[in-house]
Amino acid sequence: MKVLVCVKQTFDTEAKIELKDGKISDAGINLIINPYDEVAVEGGIQLKEKKIADEVVVISAGADKAMDAIRTALAMGADRGILVKQDTAADEYARAVALAAAIKAENPDLVLAGHVAADDGSSQVPTRIAEILGLPHVNVITGIEIAGGKATCTCEADGGTAVTEVTMPAVVSSQVSWNEPRYPSMKGIMAAKKKPVATVDAAAVDNKIKIVEFALPAAKLAGIKLEDDADVCAVKLADWMKNTVKVEVK
């Protein structure tokens, strides 16, 4: 069974966002694998360790520097990589079209991806890829069992836990609580340097969404800060909650 994992290179989640010339500035920002995708990489590697998968291929669409994200995934244990060279301004539609074309050429049994990216937060690309490829999709999974050509997924649905079964090939999107991604070992990092990474150009398609502008949210002014005896603070806080916030107490 061949597993293909989609990874997106994103800003470190601790990064402070600043604007430069009306765009999000990436100056001095540490770039990482989107945490939701990192979990998908780990999930793919675990399937190989369990001898369910024979090969784990990692794919990323983006600029040349996305190669770092691919190398990190290879250092974790993926077998080879594909970089789909694409302008980072590609929207979800253009991104999905580019990735789907490269995925189709690989003909995988299972496509894994994070259910959302920590940067644009749009939660669209894996679902769009599934639609383009005409494959079933299961969203926000926290577990997967594979047997008899079927993937049985545990999902973090709204209000509960759902178990959903689909026939493979399928696209499955991961929640961060699925697993604990490993750190690449020194041996893994060395091995990753020798693993093959193919580079392809993205299919040329136009974005469907137009960015009008970027902005930063209005800075919130800090309010009252009390440094006093705990009892005094608690009384004043209760008073503020009752009279300013007007909370209802059960």
Partner: protein, 317 residues
């Protein structure tokens, strides 16, 4: 006018509040507002939807829609879009809403603004404000097409009182068994008497300062007194004191309650991203330098183990 549609988010006949929020907000505009509801035995929901602004209620009632499944729901909505040509179609930014909207958008080869916090919809065009980097920045995006597609974050709009006529339009069932590709094996509801984190009016969150289950228990007691949801920072989730579904922040949930109480949370950027849009924020932390105080309306530099018990007895008075 073909109207602006809201896809109704419901489970077993219980409509989620975000549906009413969308109907109420759209009712302020000039276009006809329609609710679209799929399910089995759901026609009776029309009167409730009318109360919050639905002029029309499109109903697709069939066993195949009894519970959400992407394939059948998308096939059905595509048929209805082709028949009625709505100007815009809004979904809740929820587990089901974003799944259905993304699949639909790709089927129509259209753009989609997900997790929008503001909308300006005109014929053939919608300008949406999206919260990106979990709220650390905002992007204004333009989506064109018929219909204009977006998913809306729960809690950004108020539920209003303007009613609509609620005229029921029964839609022909277009989905077939061949459209269903997911087999639902089981659903186990989260057993909690507390409200959903994404929709709660009050959220009480505990962090590293809770030091363990005893501190979290205090947070939960305060939450229950306020009818609040419980949340946590990454520290308390990684320590196993709370389940991941309760994590607030960039790799968890983004919340915007009326009141957010951060107990023992220092306020890492990734946590602030998930809660700093709350209307009121109270923080309890022993470290006067904690970043959480830079976003809080009411900060208490003290020990939560001392403050919360007194706070609860004061609130009871």
């Amino acid at each position: 006018m073909a109207g602006t549609w809201v896809f109704v988010e419901q489970k077993d006949g219980n409509i989620r509040k975000v549906t009413f929020e969308m109907l109420s907000e759209l009712k302020k505009g000039g276009d006809e507002v329609a609710a679209v509801v799929f399910g089995k035995g759901v026609e009776g929901l029309a009167s409730e939807l009318a109360k919050y602004g639905a002029d029309k209620v499109y109903v697709a009632d069939d066993d195949i829609f009894a519970s959400y499944n992407t394939g059948a729901y998308v096939a059905q909505i595509v048929a209805m879009i082709n028949e009625f040509s709505p100007n815009a179609l809004l979904f809740a930014h929820s587990f089901n809403g974003r799944d259905m909207a993304s699949r639909l958008a790709q089927k129509l080869e259209a753009g989609l603004a997900t997790d929008a916090v503001a909308a300006d919809i005109s014929a053939g065009k919608g300008v949406f404000t999206r919260s990106i980097y979990a709220g650390k920045a905002l992007a204004k995006v333009e989506v064109s097409g018929t219909p204009v597609l977006a998913t809306i974050r729960p809690g950004v709009w108020e539920v209003g009182a303007a009613a609509g006529a609620g005229a029921v339009v029964k839609a022909a069932v277009a989905a077939t068994a061949a459209d269903v590709y997911q087999v639902a094996k089981s659903f186990v509801p989260t057993v909690s008497a507390r409200p959903d984190l994404a929709e709660a009016a009050v959220v009480v969150s505990g962090g590293r300062g809770c030091k363990g289950p005893d501190g979290i228990k205090l947070v939960e007691e305060l939450a229950d007194m306020l009818g609040a949801a419980v949340g946590g920072s990454r520290a308390s989730i990684d320590s196993g004191w709370l389940g991941h579904e309760l994590q607030v922040g960039q790799t968890g949930k983004v919340v915007l309650p009326n009141l957010y109480i951060a107990a023992g949370i220092s306020g890492a950027i990734q946590h602030l991203a998930g809660m700093s849009s709350s209307k009121f924020i109270a923080a309890i932390n022993t470290d006067t330098e904690a970043p959480i105080f830079s976003v809080s309306d009411f900060g208490v530099v003290s020990d939560l183990f001392k403050v919360i018990p007194v706070l609860m007895s004061e609130l009871k008075k």
